[in-house]
């Protein structure tokens, strides 16, 4: 099999499923976004061609670190700019960029601040300052309308979305059970599930109870975790190392499923569409692994 030099050195940094759940968008280190058709790839008569993108375009100069899907649009974040693409157009294999929505977009930036932007008008509404180093990850607690942010400075800050004021600040590296000084103090992944929060990065991946603001379990995963999600009663995380880790709330690592890329950057679950309920992971390879049954890898999509 002959793959070009470009593909050899490609890494996938971000993924996002379409609102209908039938398409997957993935962003790589060259600034390209590829749209894959899940329905074609999952159908019984899928061939090699259906594992290739139906659309591949250059979105940014630098790597596409973050992709986010709204009801109608795909937002991609590159070096200093955010672009919005209409899913309807992308599905039709045409790309134009426009941004129309009536929600707000919360953007964590490299300038150590969190910006909240009004998607309809495109104007930044407010800025949340507090971090001393750039922000790696954000997540949103809908019930209490709180924003959680994790950054390079090792702190997880919790903000109130309505008042835009910091509520809490957890410095994870100060907790002995989580800290791993040989890696550093940065927090690269955050996930929240009502009362629970997952955070990891330099320190080990740990599960926190938000009411008590204390870690309840620490997961003994060897590498630095880059993305973690709650799924039913499992916690799935990816990071350094070519596997997806399935963990239980109690702190045990239930399984480590091997994958193609040698380290993984992004994990996404397609929960919007019950027909195409898959988990996809991408990392330092041009291939994106697709898991139909979360216990093993089914096939790989390729850029």
């Amino acid at each position: 099999m002959f793959i070009s030099l470009q593909l050899l050195h490609m890494s996938v940094f971000s993924q996002s499923f379409s609102p209908c759940g039938r398409f997957l968008a993935a962003g790589n280190n060259y600034g390209e976004i590829a749209v894959f058709s899940l329905s074609a790839a999952l159908s019984p008569d899928a061939s090699e061609a259906s594992q290739k993108p139906i659309l591949n375009f250059t979105a940014h100069d630098g790597p596409v670190f973050s992709l986010l899907s709204t009801d109608t649009h795909l937002l991609s974040a590159g070096n200093g700019e955010i672009s919005a693409w209409s899913w309807a157009e992308l599905i039709k294999k045409v790309r134009i960029s426009c941004s129309v929505n009536d929600n707000s977009l919360i953007v964590g930036g490299g300038d150590n601040n969190i910006h909240i932007m009004d998607m309809e008008t495109g104007i930044f509404k407010s800025v949340l300052k507090g971090h001393t180093d750039y922000i790696h990850c954000l997540c949103f607690k809908e019930r209490e309308e709180e924003i959680l942010s994790g950054g390079e400075d090792g702190a997880v800050r919790i903000w109130d979305a309505r008042t835009n004021r910091p509520v809490h600040c957890i410095e994870v590296f100060k907790y002995e059970e989580c800290a791993r000084p040989q890696f550093g103090k940065w927090i690269s992944c955050l996930a929240t599930d009502s009362d629970w929060m997952l955070c990891g990065g330099g320190p080990s991946l740990s599960l926190w109870h938000l009411r008590s603001m204390s870690p309840t379990s620490v997961f003994p995963l060897p590498g630095c975790q880059r993305e973690a999600v709650f799924y039913q009663d499992l916690i799935m995380s990816v990071g350094e190392g070519p596997h997806v880790s399935h963990c239980l709330h109690g702190g045990t690592v239930k399984a480590q499923i091997p994958c193609t890329p040698s380290s993984l950057n992004t994990l996404a679950l397609n929960l919007k569409n019950s027909e195409h309920r898959v988990m996809t992971v991408g990392g330092s390879s041009h291939q994106i692994d697709v898991f139909t049954n979360f216990s093993y890898r089914a096939f790989s999509l390729s850029f």
Binding site: M1, F2, I3, L5, Q6, L7, L8, H9, S11, F13, N29, G62, P63, F65, G110, Y134, H136, E152, P181, Q182, F183, G184, W186, S188, C224, R226, E227, E240, S262, S263, N265, T266, G283, S284
Partner: protein
């Protein structure tokens, strides 16, 4: 009784003892009154049947009488008795009758014989006459037929047709009034006319001969005159040679070349013409020569088809004969057939490409007659002596110098699909065995000679000269580029082996002023050794490597850190970028597969061709890549803040590089990109 006996003699000689001479004479006079006893006459009267019955009766009587005598004698009668005497007398009479009968019988026999004889004689005479007549008839018939077959000589002469004759011949010969009726006369007249004509023509012939002789003599004279001019012309030509050189119009040379070129096989001729044309028009440094044995070529071209057929026939015959005689030489036979199949044309072309620095690429083109393909052998002669670079041994190796001039053109197999069948006949399995001897049959060589085979991917409509012309410029450029690249690499390698990375002044801006990591080793590897390395498997799996590539190992060191880089150099460098695979030995072993930052370093070195290739023609690529590798290692080591044993001690590599940010993105990549002229490092 005696007188009867006498008279029984021949009638002609009738002796009459008792008679007088007078009686004799009288008989002779034919005196009919004397009764002559003529038994012959009597014979005619008597009936032989009756005589026979008489004879039987007489015999019976005799027997009876004898019996009676016997009876009487036995009954005791006397000897002289009357009955016996009677019977004696009767017996005697019977005896006489018998004698007469006997005579008559003899006479009859004789008479019959005489008659037969006479008849026979008559028949013989007639028969003889018949024979004579028949013989004569035959003779006459033969004569007649001979006469009929006789062809007189006059019929062999072709005469003009009758109409022509009557038209042309003058009246006294043709005499139409006579000849129209009489065929014989006509023929005679015609013959006369023929004779006349022939005499006239003979006269003319003699005159023409005489004229011809005269003209012949005149020609001879003129020829001698011309040949006397020849030495003079030669002198003039010799004298003009220096003038030609001075004016750089080498007519003499070109004429000679054109003369020899007539004997070139077609593909070589096309190549010669196109290369010479290209050299004249576009590239003054290109020159073409013909070398080889012209006489052999002439011999070949004299009987091109015959010689081939003869060879195959005589081969077949020889083979048959030989297998009958000595079976042990089948192997030798096969070898000879192979040699015959792989025969080269005695003439070859030599194309020289000169480069600015004085080195020359010599290309020798050969044509394999039976296989109908062209092959090429190369030689490089350099202005300066190239030595000292151990790893550069393979670079200018004439076997592999022209490998993959166009992508995947390895020159190991013959591009002519028909050769497959020819090889099967003589048991050649791969052409690759003979390549080092015969030269490489690259596809571009075939195209330059105007040979196009159906196995080529792109079916172009061009043939012959057009095909050659369309590829000439590109191929020459590629050849020159290849030579220059290899020579540049040679020089670079010799300084790499001395641990100096030669970075030219035009490329200094790509790198910071101070680079601490240094190249400590640069060696060549074989394909085998390369595939055994653990950290290159991803490249092998990706199909980016093949056996014809060149493999090197570079070792970059700084302090305790040792970076091993396995380099894959494609023969088409610098069109194809060299591929680096990294493995770092520092506090453990890491490779691009296990660590994202090393992977980022690999991509930094492998992917950004436009930045690294430097000024055209991009011969700085490899050295720039190695320099960039050193710079990246510096950045890596200096930004590596972790200390594995947990303690915060003095760092081995103090931070000297200016970086905006040491980690970015989920994989926390280091800032490998150098910005000029500000001199800081950032992420891409």
């Amino acid at each position: 009784m005696s007188s009867d006996a006498v008279k029984k003699r021949k009638p002609k000689v009738v002796r009459n003892e008792a008679g007088t001479p007078e009686t004799k004479r009288s008989r002779a006079e034919g005196d009919q009154e004397v009764r002559v006893y003529n038994e012959e006459v009597e014979l005619e009267d008597r009936d032989p049947q009756q005589d026979y019955m008489l004879y039987k009766d007489t015999c019976a009587d005799l027997a009876k009488l004898m019996a009676e005598i016997q009876e009487l004698k036995s009954s005791g009668a006397k000897v002289g008795s009357v009955e016996i005497e009677e019977r004696h007398r009767q017996c005697s009479v019977h005896f006489i009758t018998l004698k007469k009968l006997n005579r008559l019988a003899h006479m009859r026999l004789k008479k019959g014989r005489d008659q037969t004889h006479e008849a026979k004689q008559r028949v013989d005479v007639l028969h003889l006459q018949l024979q004579n007549l028949l013989y004569e008839v035959m003779h006459l018939q033969k004569e007649i037929s001979k006469c009929l077959e006789f062809k007189s000589q006059h019929e062999e002469i072709e005469l003009v047709s009758e109409e022509e004759f009557f038209q042309e011949a003058p009246a006294e010969i043709s005499r139409p009034h006579v000849t129209r009726d009489d065929n014989h006369q006509l023929t005679l007249a015609r013959l006369d006319w023929e004779l006349e004509q022939r005499k006239r023509l003979a006269e003319q012939y003699k005159m023409s001969l005489a004229r011809k002789e005269k003209i012949q003599k005149a020609i001879e004279q003129k020829r001698e005159y011309l040949s006397s001019l020849q030495p003079g012309l030669q002198n003039i030509m010799q004298a003009s040679l220096p003038v030609q050189e001075y004016l750089s119009m080498p007519f003499e040379q070109m004429q000679k070349q054109a003369e020899v070129a007539r004997h070139l096989p077609p593909p070589l001729y096309v190549l010669l013409v196109q290369a010479a044309a290209y050299g004249q028009a576009c590239d003054k440094t290109l020159s073409v020569n013909i070398s080889g044995d012209v006489d052999e070529a002439k011999a070949l071209s004299r009987r091109p088809e015959d010689s081939q057929e003869d060879e195959s026939d005589s081969d077949a015959e020889e083979e048959q004969q030989n297998t009958k005689r000595r079976r042990a030489t089948v192997g030798v036979q096969l070898e000879d057939k192979r040699k015959a199949m792989l025969r080269r044309h005695p003439l070859s072309l030599c194309v020289d490409l000169k480069c600015k620095d004085g080195s020359v690429l010599h290309l020798f083109f050969y044509y394999l007659m039976n296989l109908n393909i062209l092959t090429v052998k190369t030689k490089v002669s350099t202005a300066t002596d190239l030595s000292g670079a151990v790893s550069a041994g393979e670079l200018l190796n004439s076997e592999s110098l022209l490998n993959c001039l166009y992508a995947s053109d390895h020159g190991k197999e013959t591009p002519n699909p028909a050769n497959r069948y020819q090889f099967d006949k003589v048991g050649i399995t791969t052409f690759a065995d003979y390549v080092s001897d015969l030269g490489h049959p690259y596809v571009w060589v075939q195209k330059l000679g105007g040979l196009q085979f159906s196995s080529d991917g792109a079916q172009s409509e061009l043939r012959g000269s057009a095909l050659s012309a369309s590829h000439m410029e590109k191929t020459m450029k590629l050849l020159r580029g290849r030579l220059q690249a290899r020579l540049a690499l040679h020089k670079q390698f010799s300084s790499l082996e001395h641990s100096i990375i030669p970075v030219s002044s035009e490329c200094q801006h790509l790198f910071p002023a101070k680079v601490v990591s240094g190249l400590t080793r640069w060696t060549m590897m074989s394909y085998q050794e390369f595939t055994e390395l653990g950290f290159v498997q991803h490249v092998l799996k990706a199909g980016l490597v093949c056996e014809t590539d060149l493999f090197f190992m570079a070792v970059v060191e700084r302090g305790t850190a040792r970076l091993l880089a396995a380099v894959v150099l494609n023969p088409r460098y610098p069109e194809v970028m060299p591929l680096f695979s990294l493995s770092l030995h520092w506090k453990g072993e890491r490779s691009g597969r296990t660590e994202d930052n090393l992977r980022a370093m690999e991509s930094e070195v492998n992917v950004f061709r436009a930045e690294l290739q430097g000024p055209r023609p991009g011969l700085q690529l490899l050295t720039n890549q190695i320099q960039r590798l050193c710079v990246c290692l510096d950045v890596y080591l200096e930004t590596e803040s972790q200390v594995c044993d947990g303690s915060e001690g003095p760092r081995e590599f103090p931070r000297e590089k200016m970086c905006l940010r040491t980690a970015r993105g989920p994989s926390r990549l280091k800032p490998f990109k150098y910005n000029h002229p500000q001199g800081f490092f950032s992420h891409r």
